[in-house]
């Protein structure tokens, strides 16, 4: 295809003429090639479009205002955290001053005499959460493994959809079901079974009315299962396929491939997912309140009624009459807030380390 030069229709007097001599090899080719610093003589006035666009402001003020508004809204996230912190500290001043740090090491809880100590609730929270984790984590891992590695493709979407549905059920609905279905089961069927086979451990003494630590732990386990499973599944999917293939190429069975190729790489993230589940369990309120028995006691028996930090607030706040009572309850809320912030921050950091946080921008 030969290079055809069509004659230029209305060529302005700037026909290119190379001025340069054959320069030595090393000199940079700076060329005042064409003296074209001025605009070409325009044919007539600028078009209405050019006029319009030239006259239109460059939107500097609007840009700045818009960016500022977005920034303020983003900062509101920090403001929310600070606001909660300051208001809770402010309103619990009374009991903070009265009991100091000992608030969390004392077992008294007597609204009448004004003597408050949060230890029973710490015990209740820890006992139910850890027991719930012990029940939920193996199951959640099993579901995550099943969904990400073993599940036939057609079943994958429905089953993962069902687990997500589990996460969407409100706490109060779980509580309702637990009160009328789970409590009788624990009282009439599960309880005697546990006493019969595991009574020797000493965890199943005393009267069993169906409400108590055990029932609360069970419903809690059901509730935290979806989030642990969902995040574990994401983490497992984030492990590159090459890792799996490398292990398989060495002759491993399916499970060995999962164990060494996937879980080993993902264990930090899985720990994070578990801690996230713990964070959720620590703060779960409604379902726990409805089946835990609402009694500020520390007891080894899992059948005993108890209270958690969240459930004591939910259960007793509306009856709190004295300022000290309210202050003590708000202080418990403050403790709950701080603990869940720390637990969630650790968990999110671990999960982020494995999945690198927000997805990359698409270029």
């Amino acid at each position: 295809m030969s290079l055809e030069r069509e004659p230029e229709p209305s060529s302005p007097p700037t026909a290119p003429t190379p001025q340069m001599d054959a320069a030595p090899l090393r000199a940079p080719a700076i060329v005042n090639f064409v003296a074209a610093s001025g605009p070409v003589a325009e044919e007539g006035p600028p078009s209405p479009i050019r006029q319009y666009l030239r006259a239109r402001g460059n939107g500097g003020l609007a840009d700045g205002t818009f960016a500022a508004v977005m920034l303020v809204c983003a900062l509101s996230i920090f403001a929310i955290v600070l606001f909660i912190l300051t208001i809770l500290i402010a309103r619990s001043r009374m009991s903070l001053a009265q009991f100091g740090f000992g608030f969390f090491t004392r077992s008294a809880w007597n609204p009448v005499t004004g003597d408050f100590g949060a230890l029973p609730f710490i015990y209740g929270t820890l006992a139910t959460s850890l027991l719930a984790l012990a029940m939920a984590v193996p199951l959640a891992l099993g579901v995550a493994i099943f969904l990400s590695e073993l599940c036939p493709a057609k079943l994958r979407a429905p089953i993962s959809f069902l687990t997500e549905l589990l996460a969407a059920i409100p706490s109060v609905v779980y509580g309702l079901w637990a009160v009328f279905v789970l409590v009788p089961i624990v009282r009439d069927q599960l309880g005697p079974l546990l006493v019969k086979y595991l009574g020797w451990t000493g965890f199943f003494e005393g009267a069993n009315f169906g409400v108590g630590l055990l029932t609360a732990s069970i419903i809690l386990a059901i509730m935290i299962l979806p989030i642990i499973s969902s995040i574990t599944r994401d983490i497992m999917l984030a492990v590159p396929v090459s890792q799996r293939e490398a292990v398989l190429a060495l002759g491993a069975t399916r499970w060995e491939m999962i164990r060494t190729g996937v879980l080993r790489n993902a264990r930090i993230g899985i720990v994070g997912a578990v801690i996230l589940g713990l964070g959720r369990a620590l703060g779960e309120t409604m379902a726990v309140t409805m089946v835990i028995g609402n009694h500020p006691d520390i007891s080894r028996s899992l059948f005993a009624p108890a209270n958690t930090l969240a459930s004591v607030i939910a259960g007793e706040f509306s009856e709190a009459t004295s300022s000290m009572y309210i202050s003590a309850l708000i202080e418990i809320g403050l403790a709950l807030f701080l603990v869940t912030i720390v637990v969630n921050a650790i968990a999110r950091a671990l999960v982020w380390a494995v999945t690198r946080g927000a997805p990359a921008r698409v270029h």
Partner: protein
């Protein structure tokens, strides 16, 4: 009509990477100027400095003087003003997926608040004709989404979109590299027809395309502009050995 561009001592960085080193050249008005060079030598960065798109990247920086006509585009005008006068066509077609063909082509005007329907209609028609796309889409202007066209059609629509705001300079960053040969030749024909009305700067790593389309060519290497001359001279009797090596295919 187009304006000429004078570049003096242009340096550009991406973070600590000194991407463009002391570029000096004059791009004549109403002509097509091609920029060639191996990948990663700074051609795209240079072109993005001409309409101040370079600075949209948070770690990017540029110093030097770039004059469009009389206007120093970095000191005398805001980026938004400059970009309204300089149109850009990107390597991959990037139509707005939520807008119809009509809205896509008119977007430069509509998104800047232009409301006159008669002029909009006329501008869209004119731009699509200039981009040689009018016949193919004129019946479905408002019904079809911009993203539902073929690759070559999308790129021509993007050219129409850039033309609709009546720019003085048209920058094209490897406009045909993602397209099939038929679309490519259509776009080259387009550039040939447009260059009498606009100043066109086209980045290409296809030397034959530069030879076909442009009057002047600049050769970039490793962030420096090695040689700038008429296309004829560059391709037949280059002054710099590096240019000759590149043209004859010894590297790149």
């Amino acid at each position: 009509m187009g304006v000429g561009i004078d570049v003096e001592h242009l340096n550009a960085w991406y973070g600590t990477n000194h991407t463009l080193q002391d570029i000096n050249l004059n791009i004549p008005a109403n002509h097509a100027t091609a920029l060639i060079g191996p990948s990663g030598c700074g051609k795209s960065t240079f072109v993005r400095c001409l309409n101040r798109m370079h600075e949209t990247n948070p770690i990017a920086r540029a110093t030097g003087v770039v004059k469009m006509g009389d206007v120093d585009i970095y000191k005398d005008a805001s980026p938004v003003d400059i970009r309204r006068r300089v149109g850009m066509v990107f390597q991959r077609p990037n139509p707005f997926p939520t807008m119809s063909i009509y809205d896509n082509v008119a977007s430069g005007l509509k998104l800047n608040g232009f409301r006159n329907k008669a002029i909009l209609d006329e501008t869209v028609e004119r731009s699509l004709k200039a981009a040689a796309l009018w016949e193919e889409v004129k019946d479905e202007l408002k019904k079809k989404s911009g993203a539902s066209l073929s690759g070559g059609q999308q790129q021509r629509m993007c050219i129409a979109r850039a033309l609709a705001v009546d720019p003085e300079v048209l920058l094209m960053d490897e406009p045909a590299s993602a397209l099939d040969p038929v679309s490519t030749s259509k776009i080259e024909d387009l550039i040939f027809q447009l260059k009498s009305q606009y100043t066109i700067v086209i980045v290409t790593h296809n030397m034959q395309q530069a030879a076909r389309v442009a009057e002047n060519t600049g050769f970039f290497l490793n962030g420096k502009m090695v040689e700038f001359n008429s296309t004829d001279k560059i391709f037949t009797t280059p002054s710099d050995k590096r240019t000759e090596d590149y043209i004859t295919g010894r590297f790149g």
